[in-house]
Amino acid sequence: MSLKDISAKLQDYQDRLKQGKADKIEPKHVEKIIAKLAAKESELLSELETVTKEGKRERLEKKLETLRSGQAKAKWLLEQI
């Protein structure tokens, strides 16, 4: 997901918020999600240390990559909120 995608979603959220159709997001809410992603990241890193099988390593690395991409978007969102 590119920043453009999340930016469009943010705009949609702000429109809904103005119409009273969305709950207001505060920084603590985004921080909570970031913390959950970080918890999963450290769990995956620990698992990665013990894994030797190539296929499994690849899957874990790819999962980490997707997770970090999500974290980056969440951090961007935190700045916007």
């Binding site: 997901m1 999340i6 809410h29 999600i33 099988k53 190539e54 990559e65 999500g70 969440a74």
Partner: protein, 608 residues
Amino acid sequence: MKRLLLPVILGILITGFWISPDFQVIAAGVAIFLFGMLMLEDGFKLFSGGFLERLLARATGSTLKSLGFGVLTTTIMQSSSLVSVITISFLSAGLISLAAGVGIIFGANIGTTTGAWLVAGFGLKVKISAYALPMLAVSIVLVFQKSKFLRGIGFVLAGLGFLFLGIHYMKEGFEAFKDQFDLTRFAMTGLAGLVVYTLVGAAATVVMQSSHATMVLIITALAAGQISYDNALALAIGANIGTTITAIIGAMTANFQGRRLALAHLVFNLVTAGVALALISPLREAVDWISAGVGIAPDDFALKLAVFHTIFNTMGVAIMLPLMRRLIAFLERTIAEDLPDVSRPKYISDAIEGFPAAVEIALRKEVGHLHENAIELITHGLNLHRHDLYEAPDIERYVAQARRPFDMDIDQAYEQRIKVLYGAIVEFVTRVSTGRMPADTIEYMHKLREAAERMVWAVKEVKHMRGNTSHYTSEDHGVVTDAYNTLRTEIARIVVEYHKMSLVDPDARSSLWLEEERARVKRDKRATSNLVEDLMRDGGMSAHAGTSFTNDASYAYRAMKDMLEAARIFFAEVEGPLTEVERMLTLDEDELDDDQVDRQAVNSGAAS
């Protein structure tokens, strides 16, 4: 009996109206009082949507906490019936333990005695209607407000206004009635008086469905000198027995736990009544002694009745509290746990309707129950054991070794384990959504229904691919077996991810953890399709096997997608703002397509 009750009550009322106009005033007073109680209950239900239920849910820490909570809520709400019914609904939904439920019911019996104090100490001493009328006028303004909170206050205020007005009319009616009739002529003394008036008190409460209303009637009649003090004591004991009918009716649609609680209520009130009847003389003396100690006039029988009501209910709790464990054991022995029929709903029932938080929790648990059944069927359909799978250090290897087909009729299993349960969930959501549920609860219920639906679809997809999967994986068919094992492995990995998510504390997990799995399904699907084409082109896979596999791969990837969607919805945040954040960070379907296919990586996975 039930058919006769209504004509009998109506007959009594009409005869009473014909004999005495004052009887009309008393009957209207009772009616207005009961109407007030209904409004009070409606008002407190409007505060729900969580508030009341969250408070109840917290009262599970210890027996004393539950007891205190029962006292407090019943004192505030002035309705032990409402507290009992909500407690039964929460117990049925599996939100509180039986011990906590019993503690709350014990406390409610003490809390309900405050009603007698309010009427005897305040209702009879001041011109209560002077408060009632302004309360009603203000309440109606609030009832028409948009805000649920203000409407709730309006209903509570109106409820209290009608309670006061009802008391006023009962008081007026008895005052006027005594000039025409002397009910004390029917006073009975001795054991006969005790028994007869206890039965009358119980019957009156069963008819009115409110011990509070019976107590007010007794107190106002006593204050007007229409019944003797001794008979009033027996009537109060009877009211305590009669009030159990509300919990019994409430438990009729509840599960075994709800029925146990109703039995606990009955046992408690019968034991308390029995002890009170046996010790009526010492109790009378204790009332006189306490009344003198707190400055109640010897002839203020209304207040002395309130003292008696409190003493005998508190005594009941003092007797039963040390026997709590034995009582629970007795309840568990007498009402056996419903047979663990996994095909039937375990949590959703009529008993929880009307309480949004209980509905949400019970429905969530029921969907979890359906998911559990579905995952069992999906794994068995692929000839895999769930628990072995969860323990397997290498999923791919475990799947390759699991070659023995399960002896099962998957169509029959689907009908029994999935369809019945899913039907019950859909029926429940449809029925409850049309009630007075808050909009966010209805939205959440529909999301949960979708989570159930997606998992059901996944089972259906696996059902379709089971035949060929068993055929090609029970014996070695070279690359075809490898290809089918790849599909089984990919589904198995999603099952394991679901299981891992279910083990994490709801407050610590995020459905965003499944984003990579969602993207991977898309990548794997494309990679598998390419791989099969290559194999068919090279002659490694026959056209017949290739066609079968292509169809089954299509079922498999749809099953994976549905399972992940079911998990994403089921494990999603439930708190509004967190849901918004999660929604923004979740990849849309078209965003998943944007990812480039990592051919090399996927090929290595598919061919392994």
